[in-house]
C-alpha cells in the first residue's frame, strides 16, 4: 500500500464503494407512517465526493444515516439495498454494523456544539473510535489526532485537543469533528450539513480544510447540504433530492452549467432574484442621532438613518454590529438614551407603554426565528385572529372570514387554521409571522433576519412574497440581514453597520459597487459563488497578501 508524505496510505480511486438501490424509509409521526425516502438509487465510488442537496424534509438526512445502516428513532428502513463494499447493510447484524461504523464509515453531524460531550476533552473524543476499535493504541491515536488537527489548519494543533468543547469556536469544533471522523481512516464519511450553523466567513475556512483533507486521503464522502454553492465547491457529482425521490443527478459541472429539471433550476433562483432599486419619494421614518445601551454597555452610537416610504432598506453588518438593537429601538422595545425616532413628523415615544394601539398598528415586527416567535400552544387561527381582533375590532364570523383571507394573502389555505406551529414547516411558520404583521395593515414592517433560518428555496418564496406585498400594499420594509444575496433580491437602499455605527449608506447600486467600505468588501468576498473553482481561487487570493479580495459577488 502506498503512503503519502505524512504517513497516511493513499487508496486507489474507482469501483463502487457504496451502492444504494431502491431504498425506502418510513417515518412515524402523528400516529401514522409517512414515506420519507421513496426508492432512491445512489452510488458513491471510491474516493469520490457526492453532494446530496434538497430542502428540509426532502429525506437527505435520513438517506445519509441510512448509508451507515442506521435509521433514526421513529424511522425504519422498509425496503431496498444498501451495499457497502458489496455487503448489504439492511438486515446486517448490530454487531457487524458496530464494527463498520466509526471504523470504515464515519459521520459528521450538523451541529458540532450539540454533538460533543461537554465534559470530556476534545482529543479524548477525537480518538475514542480508534482506541475502542483497537485500531490504534492511545498514544498512536493521539499523535494521529494532532496530525489531523494540523492538516485541518487548526491553531496550536498540539494543544487544542486538550481543551473542552466550550473553549473553542464553532468553526474549530466542526473541524475537530471532521478529525474525529477521519481518525480511523474510514472509506466513507457522511457530512450532514457541516457548515449550516456557521456564519459566512467561518464557513469558507471549514469548507476549505474539509476538502483538502478528504482529497488528500482519497476518502469517499457523501456531502449533505441545502446550499448549492457550497456543494459546488465540494462535490464531484450532485444528487438533487425532493420529497424522498431523486430529481436529477449529474456531475457538478453539468449540474451547475446546465440543470435539466425545473426544480433544480429553482434552487438557483434566490441567487438570481434581483430588484431594481428605486429612488426615494418620501421619507416615512427618520432616525435622528440615536444612541442606545443595554445597561451601561453602549450599543448604538449616534445613528442617523432614513426609511423612505414604500421602499426596502436593508441593514447589513456582522453579528454584534447593532442592527437588531436599532430595530428594537424603533419598535419601542429598547428606549433610546439619546436622539429620537421621527415618524410622520412627530417623535415616537421611546417605550411601548407610551404608544397607543393606533401607533403600534403602524409598525410591525417579524422576528428572526419563527419557532420562538409563535406561541407553541396557539393555533394559526388563534394567532392571526388575535391580531385582527386587536387592530381591526372584528369578531365572530367576520373575524374567521378575514383570518382565512389573510391566510390566502400568504398563499396558505384554511386547512392551516387549526394547526399548531409544531405542525408547520419553517417556511410556513415564517409566513404566519408575516401574516401576523400584515393583519395590522402596517406602514412599516421590521424584518429581523427573517430568511436566515430557512432553506434557499423557502427563502426565495418568502422574499417573493414580501416583494409582492410591497407592490400591492406599498409597505415599507426595514430588512436586517447578513446575506448579500438577500440584499440583492430585495433592497432599494442599504445601510452598512459596524460596532454600533453606520459606516456606509445609500442606494443599493452605490453601496455595493466599488469603491467599497472594507467590511462590505469582506462580506461580499465570503459568499460562495456558483462556480466550481471559486473556493480554490478565493483561498489562493487570500493566501497571497498582495492580492486582496479578488473575488466579487457582483
Amino acid at each position: 500500500m502506498s503512503t503519502d508524505k505524512s504517513g497516511f496510505e493513499t487508496r486507489p480511486k474507482g469501483g463502487n464503494l457504496l451502492e444504494i438501490r431502491d431504498l425506502r424509509i418510513y417515518g412515524f409521526s402523528n400516529d401514522v407512517w409517512h414515506k420519507i425516502v421513496k426508492g432512491v438509487d445512489l452510488t458513491v465510488k471510491r474516493g469520490e465526493i457526492v453532494g446530496l442537496i434538497g430542502e428540509s424534509g426532502a429525506g437527505k438526512s435520513s438517506l445519509g444515516l441510512a448509508a451507515m445502516g442506521y435509521a433514526k428513532p421513529g424511522c425504519k428502513i422498509v425496503g431496498g439495498q444498501i451495499l457497502f463494499d458489496g455487503e448489504d447493510l439492511v438486515g446486517c447484524s448490530e454487531k457487524r454494523l458496530r464494527e463498520l461504523r466509526g471504523n470504515r464509515i464515519a459521520y459528521v453531524a450538523q451541529s458540532a456544539a450539540a454533538a460533543f460531550n461537554p465534559a470530556k476533552r476534545l482529543i479524548a473524543q477525537t480518538i475514542e473510535a480508534a482506541v475502542r476499535k483497537g485500531v490504534r493504541s492511545r498514544a498512536e491515536a493521539e499523535a494521529d489526532a494532532v496530525e489531523l488537527y494540523r492538516q485541518l489548519q487548526l491553531p496550536n494543533p498540539e494543544t487544542i485537543g486538550y481543551r473542552y468543547p466550550h473553549q473553542v469556536s464553532g468553526g474549530q469544533l466542526q473541524r475537530i469533528m471532521t478529525a474525529m471522523a477521519m481518525i480511523c481512516k474510514p472509506d466513507l464519511i457522511i457530512f450532514d450539513e457541516p457548515t449550516t450553523a456557521l456564519d459566512v466567513t467561518t464557513q469558507v475556512d471549514v469548507l476549505a480544510s474539509i476538502r483538502t483533507l478528504v482529497e488528500r486521503h482519497n476518502t469517499a464522502a457523501l456531502y449533505i447540504t441545502h446550499d448549492l454553492a457550497v456543494v459546488a465547491q465540494m462535490a464531484d457529482r450532485i444528487n438533487v433530492l425532493r420529497h424522498g425521490r431523486t430529481v436529477e443527478e449529474s456531475t457538478t459541472e453539468a449540474m451547475i452549467g446546465d440543470p435539466k429539471e425545473d426544480y433544480t433550476k429553482s434552487l438557483w433562483a434566490v441567487r438570481n432574484l434581483y430588484k431594481e432599486p428605486e429612488e426615494r419619494d418620501d421619507v416615512l421614518l427618520r432616525v435622528k442621532n440615536l444612541s442606545a445601551s443595554y445597561g451601561t454597555h453602549k450599543v448604538l452610537h449616534d445613528i442617523n438613518a432614513e426609511f423612505p416610504k414604500g421602499r426596502t432598506v436593508c441593514l447589513v453588518g456582522e453579528s454584534g454590529s447593532g442592527k437588531s438593537t436599532l430595530a428594537r429601538s424603533i419598535a419601542g422595545l429598547l428606549p433610546p438614551t439619546e436622539g429620537s425616532v421621527v415618524y410622520g413628523g412627530k417623535a415616537l415615544p421611546g417605550t411601548l407603554e407610551h404608544r397607543d394601539r393606533s401607533l403600534l398598528k403602524k409598525i410591525q415586527f417579524v422576528h428572526q426565528i419563527p419557532d420562538t416567535a409563535l406561541n407553541p400552544r396557539h393555533t394559526v387561527g388563534e394567532v392571526l385572529s388575535r391580531s385582527l381582533k386587536l387592530f381591526k375590532n372584528l369578531s365572530g364570523a367576520a373575524l374567521v372570514d378575514e383570518t382565512v383571507k389573510l391566510l390566502g394573502r400568504i398563499e396558505l389555505d384554511e386547512s392551516f387554521y387549526d394547526r399548531l406551529p409544531s405542525e408547520l414547516s419553517g417556511g410556513q411558520k415564517q409566513r404566519i409571522c408575516i401574516a401576523r404583521a400584515l393583519a395590522a395593515d402596517p406602514e412599516l414592517i421590521i424584518c429581523d433576519e427573517v430568511t436566515s433560518a430557512l432553506d434557499q428555496v423557502v427563502q426565495e418564496g418568502i422574499l417573493k412574497l414580501l416583494g409582492d406585498l410591497q407592490r400591492q400594499y406599498g409597505v415599507t420594509y426595514m430588512f436586517i440581514t447578513h446575506d448579500i444575496n438577500t440584499v440583492r433580491a430585495i433592497a432599494d437602499e442599504v445601510i452598512v453597520m459596524k460596532a454600533g455605527k453606520v459606516v456606509d449608506k445609500g442606494l443599493k447600486t452605490e453601496v455595493l459597487s466599488p469603491p467599497y467600505h472594507p467590511y462590505t468588501e469582506l462580506l461580499l468576498s465570503s459568499v460562495p459563488e456558483m462556480e466550481t473553482g471559486w473556493l480554490s481561487g478565493l483561498l489562493k487570493s487570500r493566501q497571497s497578501p498582495n492580492v486582496q479580495g479578488g473575488q466579487q459577488a457582483f
Binding site: G57, P73, G74, L333, R357, N375, V400, E423
Partner: protein
C-alpha cells in the same frame, strides 16, 4: 422528527369551513388511542368520583350511625363488618371517599392557585419582589412539611378548613418554584415580545401566552401533589390531628381499627388499599396526559 409531508385535505369535497373541528377530533382520537394504563386510571378515578359525589345515595347507612355490635364480622347485614364503635365499615369507606378526595382536591386547587400566581408574579416583576418571594419559600421549604403542619395545626386548632389552608400553603411552595423556573424560560421567548408589540394587556400575557406553555409540568406536579395531600392528611389523621371524628376519612379509619390486624382481619387494610389504588390511578392518568401535552414521541 420534523416531517411535514401531510396529505392535503383541501382537495377532498369539503364542508363549509369552521374553526376548531380538526382540533377536537384530534383530541378525541388521542383519547381513543390512550394506553391501557391511562384507561384503567381514568375508570378508577371516575369510579371514585362517582362514589364521592353520590355517597349518601350509595351508602347503606348514615355516616355516623352506630350499631350495638362493635367489630362485627363481615355479614350480609354489614358487608364489611363494623368498626370499634359499631359503625358500618362500608358506609364509612364510601363517606371517606367524599371527605378525603374532596379535601385533597380543594387543597390541591388552592395550593396550585397560590403557588402558580406567586410564581408568575415573581417571573414577570423580577427584582426585589422575586427575591422576597423566593427567599420566603426557601424558609418554608427548609422545615420538614409534616412537622411544620403539626405545629401550625396545634396553633390554629384542628378543623377541616385550617387543615386545607395549612397544607395548601405549605404545598404551594412546590408549585411556586416550578411555575417560576418554567415561567422565566417562557417569558424570555419572542412571542411574548410579539404580544407586547401588539399592545396586549398584562393579564393576556400571563394567562394566554405564558400559562398554557408551563401548564404540562404544573399539571403533572398537581397530580403528584394531589396524592401527597391525601397521604399527608392520612398521616395527620393517623397521628390524631387530621380530620376529627365522627367525620369518616381513610387515614383515621386505618388507625382506629388497627388492632383488628392482630386478629387476622384485613378490614383495616381496605381504606389503605383505597388510598393506594387512587394514588396509582391518578399517576397513570397524569403520566399519559403529560406525555400527550408535552408532545413526547414514543421511541419505536
Amino acid at each position: 422528527m420534523t416531517m411535514t409531508t401531510k396529505t392535503d385535505t383541501s382537495t377532498v369535497a369539503r364542508k363549509p369551513f369552521k374553526p376548531g373541528r380538526s382540533r377536537r377530533s384530534k383530541a378525541l382520537k388521542a383519547l381513543a388511542r390512550a394506553p391501557l394504563s391511562a384507561w384503567f386510571g381514568m375508570i378508577v378515578v371516575g369510579f371514585y368520583v362517582t362514589i364521592a359525589l353520590f355517597a349518601p345515595q350509595i351508602a347503606p347507612y348514615g355516616e355516623a350511625q352506630v350499631f350495638p355490635e362493635p367489630f362485627a364480622p363481615w355479614s350480609p347485614e354489614f358487608v364489611l363488618g363494623t368498626d370499634q364503635l359499631g359503625r358500618d365499615v362500608l358506609t364509612r369507606l364510601i363517606y371517606g371517599a367524599r371527605n378525603t378526595i374532596g379535601i385533597a382536591v380543594l387543597t390541591t386547587l388552592l395550593s396550585f392557585g397560590i403557588g402558580v400566581s406567586l410564581g408568575l408574579i415573581a417571573t414577570l416583576f423580577k427584582g426585589w419582589i422575586d427575591q422576597a418571594l423566593s427567599r420566603s419559600v426557601d424558609i418554608v421549604l427548609s422545615i420538614p412539611g409534616l412537622i411544620f403542619s403539626l405545629m401550625l395545626l396545634a396553633i390554629f386548632g384542628s378543623n377541616v378548613w385550617s387543615l386545607i389552608v395549612i397544607i395548601a400553603v405549605l404545598d404551594s411552595t412546590n408549585f411556586y418554584r416550578l411555575a417560576r423556573t418554567s415561567g422565566l424560560s417562557v417569558a424570555s421567548m419572542e412571542f411574548i415580545e410579539a404580544a407586547r408589540l401588539r399592545g396586549e394587556r398584562f393579564s393576556w400575557i400571563v394567562f394566554r401566552e405564558i400559562l398554557p406553555n408551563i401548564l404540562p409540568p404544573l399539571i403533572a406536579e398537581a397530580g403528584l401533589r394531589f396524592c401527597f395531600v391525601f397521604l399527608t392528611i392520612s398521616a395527620l389523621s393517623f397521628l390524631g390531628v387530621g380530620i376529627q371524628p365522627p367525620t369518616a376519612d381513610w387515614g383515621s379509619m386505618v388507625r382506629e381499627n388497627a388492632t383488628l390486624i392482630t386478629y387476622g382481619d384485613i378490614t383495616p387494610l381496605l381504606p389503605a388499599a383505597a388510598i393506594g389504588l387512587l394514588t396509582v390511578s391518578v399517576n397513570f392518568v397524569v403520566d399519559w396526559f403529560l406525555h400527550k401535552l408535552s408532545g413526547l414521541k414514543n421511541e419505536h
